[in-house]
Symmetry: C2
Subunit: 368 residues, 2 copies
């Protein structure tokens, strides 16, 4: 790996768009304003003032919120509570690789339903349900999906809610990118439109505060949250109170709004640069420009061997994640580009290297 490698691989922010000063100030306030709550164990529901703040944001009762060590941990708790080995679980195709891994390690019967540029293919899901498959839950990343960057339309959100009510499955609305919309109009969450307690909602402060703070949360029916809180107690007594108290101070001071604005401005610029660079250096690439979030899915011509491309790219000092990592099968001509971690001045160079790697593939579609 070249020492100046440009990594489009990791879904994480570059340091320039993290409000380090704001976090430092929030940490000072956390220890000053609530030394007891910040330093003591607390309980598995999370830091009480932050839990209350989240409940207010979502217009729900506090008993419906559980604050966790990152939203991955929230996912793991939810899956451990709600999914049994052998049970069908619907996920998007492609979907987040760790979700796939966790569900498979639980022995779930993972059913991938195609993702379209306006979200999961609800006709395909309906056909699956009509065929008799009864999933425990459907995992959906509605906004700026990981890995594809696509957003679920309002019409499909309503349709999913109808299907969930009709067929009795839970929708797991996994929504860490919602606040990072830099173009287009915000669409209401399924959780906010849910009239049948069908939706469990998860989000995170990783994209709006910073990932190292590891604070995520679940919103769901109070009985389910209580069940998961018990599992959380037995797993780690309580999540990180210091981190949650810092997040709370960061939120109530309004620093989070400035942080979100910084992130959105930078990412919008990066997407524009990425688009221009691909058009110039790799016109074979097909993609839909994301309206928010960290990721863009790229299709290369049929016959492209993404594994070979990955190696050729690594040699040239550019990294991405192969599309095949987000699928159970197929995707050999696809890749995920994360622009969140690459500053704008490096994007063109990164795409140049990627294009160079693509052209180096002898016998590939590129050479044909």
């Amino acid at each position: 790996m070249a020492s100046d490698t440009i990594s489009f691989a990791r879904g994480a922010p570059s340091l320039d768009i993290v409000d380090v000063g704001g976090l430092r100030d929030a940490a000072t306030r956390a220890f000053t304003n609530d030394p007891g709550g910040t330093t003591a164990y607390g309980t598995s529901i999370g830091y009480v003032p932050l839990r209350r703040w989240i409940a207010e944001q979502h217009g729900v009762d506090e008993a419906q919120v559980l604050v966790t060590n990152g939203s991955m941990q929230a996912d793991a708790f939810l899956f451990a509570t709600e999914v049994e080995a052998g049970q069908p679980v619907v996920v998007e195709k492609p979907t987040y690789d760790r979700t796939l891994l966790n569900l498979r390690s639980l022995g779930a019967d993972v059913r991938m339903v195609s993702l379209q540029t306006d979200g999961i293919d609800t006709a395909e899901l309906r056909a699956l349900l009509r065929s008799g498959v009864r999933p425990a839950l459907a995992h959906v990343i509605p906004n700026f999906q990981n890995p594809a960057g696509y957003t679920l339309s309002l019409a499909k959100r309503n349709e999913l809610l109808e299907l969930a009510a009709e067929y009795g499955f839970a929708i797991f609305e996994d929504d860490p990118y919602k606040h990072i919309r830099f173009s287009g109009e915000d669409i209401p969450t399924m959780h906010s439109m849910d009239e049948h307690d069908s939706v469990v909602y998860a989000s995170s402060f990783s994209k709006t505060v910073c990932p190292g703070i590891r604070v995520g949360y679940l919103v769901g029916p109070a009985a389910l949250i209580a069940k998961i809180a018990k599992l959380a107690t037995n797993t780690y007594i309580s999540p990180n109170m210091v981190a949650q108290s810092i997040v709370y101070e960061f939120c109530v001071s309004g620093a989070i709004d400035g942080s979100i604005q910084t992130v959105k401005t930078a990412l919008a610029e990066r997407v524009a640069t990425l688009d221009a660079a691909l058009e110039q250096h790799l016109p074979e690439a097909r993609y839909t420009l994301p309206e928010g979030g960290y990721f863009m899915w790229v299709d290369l011509p049929e016959g492209t061997d993404v594994a070979a491309l990955f190696d050729a790219a690594s040699e040239r000092g550019v990294q991405f994640v192969k599309g095949t990592d987000f699928l159970l099968e197929g995707g050999e001509n696809t890749l995920r580009i994360a622009y969140s971690g690459v500053t704008n001045d490096r994007i063109d160079e990164g795409v140049k290297r990627l294009a160079d790697a693509y052209r180096s593939l002898a016998g590939s579609a590129a050479a044909a």
Copy 2:
């Protein structure tokens, strides 16, 4: 519950012995000195400088250390990796209630071996091993055991190591209280004396920094640590980098030494007060004074109904944990007193209330 309840129930420090100012300063340094490492995801092994610091403290290679979100999470990872349903696991009798709960929920065949004032009854363990039982591991809290407050003698540490080598089981040395010794001589860890890679060691900063920081760690053979790191990645990507960076700054600045001294001084004083108060108000109590840690085990006369005592105590505004919570059976005349969370000026009053509750038990040994 009375509004001024005195709680001898929770194994947590009172706020007066937490170095809140030192933590606030450490947080400022964390964001200033390493903004990137503090705010980014990192990896599941933990914050690299803290991992290195811990490795140096234990004289091991960094690859042998995994830093986690509290040591309970470390325990949970270790058990998930090393214990299969139906497998025998040795624990002390009594032992930490959450350990018991976790092992039982994994379906382990929990074998409790009596705890004596100098630690686990090695003769009883030897007999168990000779009878053909082959445990996956033996969980031992060597210093100021939770719940009993007893410490494993050097002779028994050596004997345990010999048994582990002879019968091929792992010793899980769960040692969060080691640095909180306020009388007597420090005894080397089994991990430091281990010549056969028999020991996996866990500890925590909950008792030396603060519990809300949720930082614990495992030290063990590199291959095992790598296996657990993989499980940790799949569970939460990475532990809390902000918290671990704060702990690192707290440690390298030497603030941790001052913090430990504060805790030891206060707890020594509290144990002396507790001893005097029990002698005065509840002379029926039998106990061994701990040389460190948070807990003291109290035996009351045979026939005492600790569940009734618990209720009578609650009514009088004093709380403790019933001995029965730390056992699979028996212990109806025992209780655990945690003096860590009660300031010295409240201990005598707490014991008075407890004694009053004890004398209120009609038909109990107290009334006899």
